[in-house]
């Protein structure tokens, strides 16, 4: 229950962070909130020769409203985003989804970008980023690039991030006024990773966006289900999303059960999002 020895680095700027990440490329891991990483280290499920602690780079701690998206810096804690007026105004689905992430004490320390970089297929935020067509900003020794959610998540705990790259920012597209949204999740206990979770945004132009976690090795957008949902066929949307899922069986749920839950939760999330959208239109 104690981590293996590691070398500890505390860069003071993002340039220093990238410098040490490239110096120790492949042997170094970024430590931000540590709420997913440290349990793995404590159990020695993983170990790294170096940990690069970015907690002393204050300019990575921001939540900014930009043209078309909400920018969340690498050090913005779940809790700050949850309580942020910008997030509530520009992308209210984000604080809503955050209610399902761990517990308040975990969210006080954990970061939004850390949850994304960790890329657990059962995690809420990667599904949300995927649903909305968001992206991440990666900075490495060869420069800065923006990766779309769908190209970033590659598999179970695997992303397109290179060993010398730092995820400096996550970009969540703003929800236009008059949108409806919902996050639905099935978990054993509140705060656990989802068995299945669904993010849904019903946009004013009539389109519907969906993101599913827990039903595939990466979070995914069930495109056919989105079309059916936009046409108001909720049951068909659920069925199509389930058909697009490829879950594994594990201790918590069989693949068959997960698929059934994808169907139910997609239906429920779409219904809830459409109801809210109507409520917004009336209000």
């Amino acid at each position: 229950m104690k981590p293996a020895a590691f070398g500890y680095l505390t860069p003071r700027t993002r340039e220093e962070a990238i410098e040490v990440l490239s110096r120790y490329a492949g042997d170094a891991k970024v430590l931000a909130g540590g709420q997913s990483l440290v349990p793995l280290l404590n159990f020695r499920l993983t170990s790294f020769r170096y940990l690069v602690d970015i907690n002393r780079i204050p300019d990575l701690d921001y939540i900014r409203s930009e043209q078309g998206y909400l920018a969340i810096g690498a050090l913005a804690r779940h809790r700050s985003v949850e309580q942020s007026a910008e997030a509530a105004r520009e992308c209210p689905l984000l604080p809503e989804a955050l209610q399902f992430v761990g517990h308040p004490v975990i969210r006080q320390r954990g970061t939004v970008c850390g949850s994304i970089a960790h890329a657990d297929p059962s995690a809420e935020l990667p599904a949300l980023l995927t649903a909305l067509g968001g992206s991440v900003v990666l900075e490495g020794s060869s420069g800065r690039r923006v990766a779309d959610a769908e190209e970033y998540f590659l598999g179970y705990l695997m992303t397109a991030q290179q060993p010398d790259e730092l995820l400096v920012e996550a970009r969540f597209p703003k929800l236009p006024n008059g949108s409806g949204f919902a996050f639905e999740e099935l978990a054993r206990r509140h705060g656990d990773f989802a068995i299945v979770g669904v993010a849904c945004a019903a946009l004013p132009d009539g389109s519907v966006r969906l993101g599913v976690c827990g039903a595939n090795s990466v979070p995914f957008r069930p495109l056919k289900a989105e079309t059916a949902a936009a046409q108001g066929d909720l049951q068909e949307a659920g069925r199509l999303a389930a058909a697009d899922s490829d879950p594994d069986s594990d201790l918590h749920a069989t693949a068959e059960y997960r698929r059934a839950m994808v169907s139910k939760l997609v239906e429920r999330a779409v219904r809830h999002a459409l109801e809210r959208k109507e409520g917004n239109a009336r209000g």
Binding site: K2, G7, D53
Partner: protein, 179 residues
């Protein structure tokens, strides 16, 4: 980069280093190797045994402390991260053993503990909740305390104790009940 490279040998990165932090108002200086968990540092190196260690992976909440004013799992942090930090552990809540906080008194009165293992984390978590939200609803208390496991009480007494120590009757808003 100058500051970072003054470590010279890479081995220095692995070695124990001196850290300074304030715990319960007192400044401590102690050596810690990077992998030393903050929970172990507090218990073993600072000899403050009030912070309990249950699961060591952030699930049980027994090791919760206030880190720069915010609740945090000390088993999910390294001691080296606490260099320069201000920490409050359960020992730092009461002014003296004779002068418990209102929350501690109400834990006693409401029978909010039995074996006491989870209690330090419960008290810290609830202290953080009440300082942010002095009049929580019953549901807000349950949400805030959801990450703290107790295997004795069944939680009802804990929720009651937190509400009794709050400026509220559990229905939210500004309430009387300053008993």
């Amino acid at each position: 980069m100058a500051e970072m490279r003054t470590g010279h040998l890479e081995d220095a990165l692995f070695e124990a280093r001196e850290i300074a932090c304030t715990v319960n108002g007192k400044l401590y200086r102690a050596m810690a190797e990077p992998r030393r968990l903050l929970s172990d540092f507090i218990r073993e190196d600072l000899d403050l045994k009030g912070t309990h260690v249950g699961c060591e992976h952030g699930v049980c909440g027994a090791c919760t402390i206030l880190f720069n004013g915010q609740p945090a799992r000390s088993c999910l942090m390294f001691a080296v991260q606490a260099d320069g930090a201000e920490i409050v552990t359960v020992e730092g809540l009461a002014r003296s053993p004779q002068q418990l906080t209102r929350l501690q008194e109400s834990f006693s009165q409401e029978h909010a503990l039995q074996c006491g293992y989870c209690t330090p984390g419960m008290l810290i978590s609830a202290t953080a909740l009440l300082s942010e939200n002095p009049s929580p609803t019953d549901s807000e208390v349950r949400h805030a305390m959801a990450g703290q496991l107790c295997r004795c009480t069944g939680y009802e007494q804990i929720v009651r104790a937190v509400l009794a120590a709050a400026d509220s009757d559990g229905k939210g808003g500004e309430g009387g009940n300053h008993a």
